[in-house]
Point group: C2
């Protein structure tokens, strides 16, 4: 690298590192708000988060950022950078180009509306009052439509939104994989519904004391290789994981006395996210690449631990006795196979976050298709409840009796997060595809799990995925690890095999 | 106010509010580092704190700040502002003028040295190795001397340092009040040392379980009127209070099993700081005035609760039975008068933070006099141990056997905090003077305390002190509350009266 280039790079690194600092501070403020900040400080705290986010936006779209990324994109300069450096420049340039034309006042007006709209959504959900929420959601959609024009359209308008969360994937591709997945899952769900072999889940409807739930959760996290010197476990209403830096990746859970599986699987889920962030190559710290490759890849790592490992029979062959140790009365007379069947019971619920591993994907496909209708076909907000209910009837065979149990159930749209839902099922598909390779490369996979020897799995994932952070794109990762692009058949195969055995179809 | 002035004020308020946001974020990052941040994230976290502090410094000394404060200082504009606004302009202008001439690289070089020097101090204290620390302290002093030139000298060179922590007070004034205080305390200490009536403190040297210490501390904080919806209590190695905003004022304590008084009095002390910050007028939020008037006034509020209330007989007449409830075995056969005498035992210890209410002031006077010798008389760093030991012999009648128990005991100098120590004794003097007025205006003061009716005291302090935050100067507060300027005789009178009775002098 020429000396001048390396001097410029050093200056650019200073800007990147400052941006990392802002992300870390904002992350901590959010974590604190959701774990233990006193009630009376929350309003001012939100303003502080807003101010720091504004400063971050300003750096992201600054003339300085424009000049640096233009300079480092010049062919004669680009050729002097290594792959990681080029990826940094690429990602910063993309963000800069995308956001620079949005007038800051416009962005702030939108941020205020989104915050306000989220409060309105809470009320509307509480009272199952879609009409009360409709004007706000209509405005949010209008803003998003306007932003799509600022951001620029490549493909369909909805592609622009999808790209925010899953770069590389197009609506065309997602249509194809979701379509194939749906065509295989819908008949499977119907066969299960018709099966007489329903698991007994009644023993799960007991009180499981918090102390035991906590101790078991901590134990499992340690077994997975979660590093408590680089993280901590707290409680919050909705569980989440947040990576402030690879040395400080925090997770939360929520203990529900009459729902022991909630904390168990949320610990595995958030633990999966956290393993990813704790094991990113430290050399990427201070750059925008020190995070997951995409929402979908991130979700694949939480789902792999939660479902493919955590809801498997080998896992419980090893750990069921520990759970029984904490809950000897509640689990007396329930053997590990009964337990395994119960935690994998398929029930066509109205609520996405309560859904099982199988029908969960249909909940996502409903949302994805509706978002596409809004942005590509001009579906009016007022018609959402009707379209929602029709799709639930078609894919899941149920019609929500109220909008609270239907179109109002999720927070995402109130905050303008259109394009996000797809990541959840993309994560499931990536996870099944990665699992397929993992099983080939670690042929003793089931034995490792059933003997509680989870660290080789964590190490394999670190080597193949975690350490890269965002220095590879989602499609580079999936192709590099599995040798082929995203293929929904792995998930469909996995689910068919698992549930055919479980329900003796 | 003319329209243009009010428009300018709105813009200026935006800058101030942004600066408040930075202070809040930095405060939370510090709190987190000291209460529960995972070890492996600490290094990057420190860099983030440094980055945000740098951004804050930049705003404080920005051309924008210069222009705003110059504009609002114009006589025709100033006359249109209210008192609070004028105080804001005054304080911002002072900070701007003071710091703008320091080259940012110089400031950063100093910040790095100070951080490094603190680590060196830890090692030196551990090994009682003053020679190993000396070169660092020498550099720190040289930087401070250089900064004094940048900041400007008004009075003696040491005045410039003192002014950072206690505006309005001069070396001349502090010399006078410390001199008067010392001349009355030294003979009192000598009389106590000669008294045969020593309290029995042996029962305090037992194990007091953490659970009881915690419960008692929480109880006392609630009794004082500390609002747990606007704060929280955590543990840290050194107790502290931090006001992020008046709705979020956090305190920490430290439970030492064989030293029950440590947590009790640190809760009262930090609780006193916290009551101050929780009760600042909410209208000051988002301005630099939403904090204590000065270090000395802040300390007066912690000392008033810790010592004047917390180490008084009426207080324990009410609360001793609660402490006994948690520790029935340890306190069996110890009556409240024995307990009161034991917690007020005067022991000429080498260590400031272990000192009693009386000799504490002599520890401070030693440090103040030495700092003055360094900056006004050119005392060399290498000569500090010898001067330190001589002064301890003169004022306290003891000579530290090692530098770890002497000149190396405090962290302050390693971080460049010269001028800070005086605040502790100024706080004691302010507290005694305020207590004198408080007793006049609430004549049932002793009954209020002995009946556990502490809220009227909190309300009186809110009305007279807390609510103003930094909108009054320390001398305005003390004169407005007590009708006269700082007068050390109140503290000397209070101590003489208290200890004459205690030791039957």
């Amino acid at each position: 690298m020429e000396q001048q280039v390396s001097q410029e790079w050093e200056k650019f690194s200073g800007l990147l590192s400052k941006m990392s600092g802002y992300r870390e501070a904002i992350g901590l403020l959010h974590w604190d708000l959701r774990t233990g900040a006193p009630r009376k400080g929350a309003e001012i705290r939100s303003q502080t988060v807003g101010m720091l986010s504004g400063e971050y936006f300003r750096l992201e779209t600054s003339p300085e950022m424009g000049q640096f990324t233009e300079y480092f994109s010049r062919p004669d300069i680009q050729s002097q950078l290594n792959e990681v450096q080029n990826k940094i420049v690429h990602d910063c340039r993309k963000e800069y180009e995308r956001s620079k034309s949005i007038p800051p006042e416009k962005y702030e007006e939108y941020a205020v509306l989104a915050a306000h709209s989220e409060t309105k959504w809470e009320d509307a959900k509480e009272n199952s009052d879609f009409a009360g929420f409709e004007p706000f959601l209509t405005k949010i959609v209008a803003f998003k439509q306007e932003f799509i024009d600022y951001w620029g359209v490549n493909g369909t308008r909805y592609d622009t939104l999808l790209d925010m969360y899953e770069p590389d994937l197009t609506v065309e591709k997602v249509d194809e994989v979701f379509g194939r997945l749906r065509s295989r899952l819908v008949p499977l769900v119907e066969k299960i519904a018709a099966s007489p072999n329903k698991p007994d889940t009644s023993f799960l409807q007991q009180i499981f004391e918090q102390e035991g739930q906590e101790q078991f959760g901590l134990f499992i996290l340690k077994q997975m290789g979660y590093d408590f010197d680089a993280g901590r476990l707290d409680e919050s209403v909705h569980p989440f994981a947040t990576g402030l830096n690879p040395g400080d990746v925090r997770i939360t859970t929520n203990y529900i006395p009459d729902n022991v599986t909630s904390a168990v699987f949320s610990s595995l889920h958030e633990g999966g996210h956290a393993l990813y962030e704790q094991n990113i190559n430290p050399e990427l710290v201070g750059t925008p690449l020190a995070q997951g490759a995409s929402m979908g890849i991130h979700e694949s790592q939480s789902r792999l631990w939660e479902n493919m490992i955590g809801r498997s029979l080998p896992f419980w062959e090893r750990y069921y006795k520990d759970l029984q140790h904490y809950f000897p009365v509640q689990l007396a007379g329930v053997d590990v196979k009964d337990f395994y069947r119960a935690i994998n019971s398929v029930d066509n619920t109205f609520i996405r976050i309560e859904a099982d591993e199988l029908t969960y994907n249909l909940h996502i496909i409903v949302r994805y298709e509706i978002e596409k209708l809004i942005f590509n076909e001009g579906l009016a907000v007022k018609d959402l409840p009707q379209v929602w209910n029709a799709k639930y009837q078609e894919y899941l065979g149920i019609t929500p009796p109220t909008d609270a149990l239907g179109v109002l159930q999720d927070v995402h749209w109130s905050g303008g997060d259109f394009g996000y839902f797809a990541s959840y099922s993309l994560g499931n598909m990536y996870a099944a595809q990665i699992l397929n390779t993992l099983r080939k490369e670690l042929p003793t996979f089931d034995e490792l799990v059933s003997s509680g020897n989870l660290l080789p799995i964590k190490e394999w994932l670190t080597d193949k995925i975690y350490r890269y952070g965002q220095s590879l794109t989602p499609s580079q990762i999936i192709e590099q690890v599995t040798g082929e692009p995203l293929n929904p058949d792995y998930l469909a195969d996995y689910l068919e095999e698992k549930y055919t055995a479980l329900y003796q179809l």
